[in-house]
């Protein structure tokens, strides 16, 4: 079984920007070990000669004509914003103040 430590889960939670309590981390570390043990089977079957499939359709870049078409108004785009300032989204500080 693929073991995964609590510290590893804490690292993943940081990468994924999810705050987690100690008990959540403990619980998830246990579950992740079981799930990873089950899904690791994918390593048994495909050899190096098998190409990966990332998508069911074999589409390459799809372009549209470079023509301006109507889009959301500022008001519509801001309609769901948790906080706004005039015509802008208002967000918490991104760079430290010090």
């Amino acid at each position: 079984m693929a073991a995964i430590s609590r510290d590893e889960v804490a690292h993943l939670a940081r990468l994924a920007r999810i705050e987690m309590t100690d008990s959540e981390l403990d619980h998830l570390a246990g579950e992740m070990g079981v799930i990873l043990g089950a899904v690791a089977r994918v390593q048994e079957v495909a050899g190096a000669d098998v190409p990966p499939t990332s998508h069911p359709l074999d589409v390459k870049n799809v372009y549209r004509p470079d023509v301006v078409v109507p889009s959301l108004t500022n008001e519509q785009a801001l309609s769901g914003a948790p906080a706004k300032d005039e015509e802008r989204f208002k967000v918490p500080q991104i760079l430290g103040e010090e």
């Binding site: 995964i4 590893e8 889960v9 993943l12 939670a13 990468l15 994924a16 920007r17 999810i18 705050e19 987690m20 959540e24 998830l28 579950e31 992740m32 079981v34 799930i35 990873l36 089950a38 899904v39 690791a40 089977r41 994918v42 390593q43 048994e44 079957v45 495909a46 098998v50 190409p51 990966p52 499939t53 990332s54 998508h55 069911p56 359709l57 589409v59 799809v62 549209r64 959301l72 519509q76 785009a77 309609s79 769901g80 914003a81 948790p82 906080a83 989204f89 967000v91 918490p92 500080q93 991104i94 430290g96």
Partner: protein
Amino acid sequence: MSTIHKSASELGAALAAQEISAVEVAKEHLARIREVDGQVHAFLHIDEAGALSQAEAIDKRRATGEKLPPLAGVPLALKDVMTQAGIPTTCGSKMLEGWRPPYDSTVVTKLKENGVVILGKTNMDEFAMGSSTENSAYGPTHNPWDLTRIPGGSGGGSAAALAAFEAPLAIGTDTGGSIRQPAAVTGTVGVKPTYGAVSRYGLVAFSSSLDQAGPCARTVLDTALLHEAIAGFDPKDSTSINAPVGSMVAAAKKHDVKGLKIGIVKELSGEGYQAGVKQRFDEAIAALVDAGAEIVEVSAPNFEYALAAYYLIAPSECSSNLARFDSMRYGIRIGDDGQKSAEEVMRMTREVGFGKEVKRRIILGTYALSSGYYDAYYGSAQKVRTLIKRDFEAAFTKADVLVSPTCPTTAFKIGEKADDPLAMYLNDIATIPVNMAGIGGMSLPCGLAPEDGLPVGFQIMSPAMKDELMYQVGGTLEAALLSKWGKPLLADAPALGAK
């Protein structure tokens, strides 16, 4: 007779003949929702005013003599993962509580063009992750056949609304079985079209290479009518297929499978499949033989790895897709006290906004995509996806369509598998290969399991871009079973509402 027990095609005909009005039909369905939804909880939002004004507009246009599309005035339940401008869209998550999207999904635009009356938004597992609708932040949906059991998931609300006669049509989305498994356990019909056949614009993304919207109804013909209404090329979805939509309705009405080769997938039966599921499946095969089909057995040796590959690919894509829920532009925001940084606020919001299963999959996907693990997990899963595609390609050289039970078991009890993610994932064992290859899949009812009296689903899989074939086989099987039973399966469902 109330209009709630009629099929969409019957309603469409009665509306076109002006025997009933769209407003009457909408009112009777809204009354039914008020009567039974306290027990079923199929809906998260009911748009009574909107539905009535859409219905009124249809009646007015019809009164002027305008020729309207076949589903004009027919009510529909919309899965809460599809945006509808101005109508709450939560995806079953706290993260989007109170959000009203500023735009219509392409599916909704097409429904409106077809005059379909949208009654409201249906319950679902949070962000479509689950097989029981228990992962909804707003409480579970109950299976109309037995209110103590799950209606399947993630589209349990849409399927339950159909089975409870709250709507004759519904929209679902299917990433690993979220249309077909709920259809199977509620005795309704659900279709996952070929990947790219229906636009994903406005479908809140879970796993973009697997997600596909499709039609749900109580009859094969009704799903075909809805399929034709919502399918087609959309420049707003770069993975939308630019080809004409086939004649699903004509195929559903054919009622003939003479000369068709139907392949039973050896690996999708046997161990782990309930006895009554197997029995009803075999009886349906016998009915198809009587109808003139030729049965062959096909093998798909790599299907046994499909579930493992899916639970790496889907979480990987979800960990990336759900990064958009960052509390900056829409959705809830937690902890913004003017002191905390954007990153702290993001972390607190995502802790509160996401439920257990969503967090589990984001963490799993983040792990599978991490440097050092990428090749072993995500990379290997993508190779398995190639092998599954090849299995289908080989099988389709021997058979025109493939069949299997939709699910290994009938509906289980609410709470029974809630704490065992691996047991829950096993529900999707027969539906997932279809998504991995991007082909078409349908589930239709093939009887009640003798041991528990609950519906059993029959799955039909057709090659990519040949969705007509599943409608042809499904329509034929449905007609054969209907003549054998003498009544639709749902006629035996328990009565709901005030006792």
